[in-house]
Assembly symmetry: C2
Homo-oligomer: 462 residues x 2
């Protein structure tokens, strides 16, 4: 443990009693993965070299007596790291602390990510900041190597997810950080258990891994990531945590650039209910353990390829969050084409993805293009859809021909039987072409709005 930290960081949390206002967003799950979701949980994986992960049971929520709720992701060596954070104006303490430490460190020399679920440490004032720092400090203390300088910034990124407005049981958490450290390992079971420990209302752990090559060599690189989501997901990183690890050697600046671009096309292109949260963070760690040439700038010959790999990987991870949207029964891809700008395309797609009427129609398996058009029409796009050039189709996922609902602003004769068949499937793409002038396209992913969503979010008390 570094003894050189200023005393202010050791301030004990205030004794204010928050127990009377404990809130949870839903009853804790029994840990059983619904049969329909099992296909999204990997049974094996090839994980990046030089990372070890583990978890421990804290009982952050008093009602959680069984499930690990503290997750630790570590690199065997100090590594480069970057993160993107929620844009909510009320940023949680771990967001502030992690952003600051990454900035102070210039994204270098990071050793770990420490995550607790069950309590978001958001809207917790100065005491909450001290708690988040305490998590970083106690995690740092697990590493026996000396930090770069005696009073260098923390080396552990902190994330929290769960209830807002409640202080962390910080002593319980910090006392279990060494347990999580002792539990570290690099097997598939370690990764899956750690992915499970960051979950809140998620019904399944979200973990992916893959191997890839870059143009400059035949070397095999690896990437793995875990994420959690469920409710409150919309662009700008809502109640969503993501941790991506790769053994590619890449420096902070190109890594940060890649993550910003990848997050925009993935985690910021999904919507469950349009709500965005106080906490959320996607971090990437790159330790270079696979060896090879360091990607030190965006002009490196491997930069664009790596960006594509990480973007595609992030999209696949983000889609898992939509698969587990609270109460979701449908997985819907919204594709907006021929917009004047990417921003316009995104605004229109987001407007459709957020519309409760579109989402309840999808739940009701209703080919209601009128609602899709309405949502298109009230988007805040600077260059809106051209009504007499707007077309709407359903694109089935079985590869069969698209079903045209509206062509150039004129309703089509819809084959209702075919529409019903398409809407029976879990997956569906809605394609909206907003003009006949070739332009910008975007993809957005969302789910439907079900009775179950209302139950989960209306009937919250444990």
């Amino acid at each position: 443990m570094s003894l050189a930290r200023p005393n202010a960081r050791l301030l004990s949390r205030t004794n204010r009693v928050f127990s009377s206002q404990i809130r949870t967003y839903s009853a804790p799950g029994d840990g059983v993965i619904p049969p329909a979701k099992k296909k999204y949980v990997p049974t094996s994986g090839t994980y990046p070299r030089g990372f070890k992960v583990g978890s421990a049971h804290v009982g952050v929520k008093a009602s959680n007596t069984r499930f690990d709720d503290l997750a630790l992701i570590t690199s065997d060596t100090p590594c480069a790291a970057a993160a993107v954070f929620t844009k909510n104006k009320f940023q949680a303490a771990p967001v502030t602390v992690s952003r600051d430490l990454l900035k102070e460190r210039g994204g270098q020399g990071i050793r770990a990510v420490i995550v607790n679920s069950g309590c978001a440490n958001a809207v917790t004032g100065k005491g909450g900041i001290e708690d988040a720092k305490s998590m970083a400090k106690h995690t740092d203390a697990c590493f026996t190597d000396s930090p770069d300088s005696p009073d260098s910034p923390y080396r552990s990124i902190v994330m929290s997810t769960g209830v807002i407005g409640q202080r962390l049981p910080i002593d319980k958490i910090t006392s279990k950080i060494p347990t999580a450290f002792a539990n570290l390992g690099d097997t598939h079971d370690h990764w899956l258990g750690t992915a499970r420990a960051i979950c809140t209302t998620d019904t399944f752990p979200k973990l992916m891994s893959k191997t890839f090559k870059l143009p400059s060599s035949d070397r095999e690189y690896r990437i793995a990531g875990m994420t959690k989501g469920a409710g409150m997901i919309h662009p700008n990183m809502a109640t969503l945590l993501g941790i991506i690890c790769t053994d590619v050697p890449v420096a902070y600046f190109p890594l940060r650039r890649i993550l910003a671009s990848a997050a925009n096309k993935s985690f910021n292109s999904i919507s469950i209910d349009g709500d965005t949260s106080t906490n959320d963070t996607v971090a990437i760690l790159a330790n270079g353990a696979a060896g090879g040439d360091l990607i030190d700038t965006k002009f490196h010959s491997d930069f664009e390829s790596l960006k594509q790999v990480i973007t595609d990987f992030s999209i696949d991870l983000a889609k898992l969050v939509v698969r587990d949207g609270e109460g979701a029964t449908k997985f819907v891809t919204i594709r907006v084409t021929n917009a004047r700008s990417i921003t316009d395309a995104r605004r229109i797609a987001s407007s459709i993805a957020r519309s409760p009427l579109v989402k309840t129609a999808l739940y009701g398996k209703d080919a209601n293009w009128g609602r899709i058009l309405c949502a298109t029409g009230y988007s805040t796009a600077r260059n809106p859809a051209v009504p007499e050039e707007t077309s709407v189709s359903f694109v089935p996922t079985d590869g069969s021909e698209e079903l045209k609902l509206l062509v150039n602003g004129e309703p089509e004769q819809v084959d209702e039987a075919r529409a019903a068949k398409i809407l029976e499937a879990e997956d569906l793409e809605i394609k909206v072409s907003v003009s006949n002038t070739p332009g910008k396209d975007t993809w957005f992913w969302t789910c439907d709005f079900s009775h179950e969503y209302v139950t989960i979010n209306g009937d919250y008390r444990t």
Copy 2:
């Protein structure tokens, strides 16, 4: 009937068959008003002089074999009229036709408003425009006085509400306009029956009337209004129709100014589900039948008083729409104070009013200020809330002291028993002060998100 209209207006509708794609937003009601809503339906009224109203049964929706679905509001003499329309980019045919005729007439010489429910005549192309014009033409033809000039613009404002993308059964409608005209009258029953005829998924007719005086005289003036709403209501006039009639003598320009201001503070300050529609219109007719001095400019000594009367009246009417939000169990006033601008205050209030997580928490009677804060934090206000100066309270409607949930960014010790009691009531005010600097305030009205909302909108087929 004016025979001078160009032939283009008489174009018969295309014979394209749309019957295979008939959609409705919910099962037709059985016309029985739920016991809890009866208190909002007046049993008597004092209606403005010189207006007669009536209705007729068309059966716009084939499934409607019983209920009047054509409403006619007339002035005994040509009157001034103004209207505000949806801002959705896909504007329905009646919106285009009504906007054009008001513009061409300079808001003068209007005789009637003709409204059909059951079909929105939206996204219906050129044929839809002809249908809307046909409704205006056939209504005009009921009046025996000559229009101001042989080929003057229509004198009847047209509104439609209901299903999108389906052509009107225009011959059925126009054949029943004389029936509605024959049914005209000025009794309470006439007004209530007409208010009922404009309803779609509404569970009760929304009608109000009152008398008032203006500063310049002791004369009694009268105002009455009807509105319909239910789902898809959010700022910018979503699936919402409103018709206000007054016997005050007021010219078009001051009338238009008053309506724009009043609509902004009323119909554009409510949200059911955040969706906005293709059709919606609030119109005001002023026939001067009560006599007195003409309010001809905004500098007239009665102008400000009349503006206040019409604004307050519009707010009360708009609140009735929220009372009947699809599946609503709560009526929630959101008051945002100390914002830097009215626009900022409105954006924050709208963000809270639209949040599915806030709305499901209200349904679940959960004092979840965390979700309120989240929605405050992700609003698009240019000058966002100041986190450490933000306070959130519940203001009970029984006049008792407000319940503080968050004060200057710090959570309060919440008396959960009192919170539960406040949340048991149907009515609730959420007060959010976004800074400690005196600033602009706004009010917004919304309802909760219930299982019933999902049922109504997901399980739509008749």
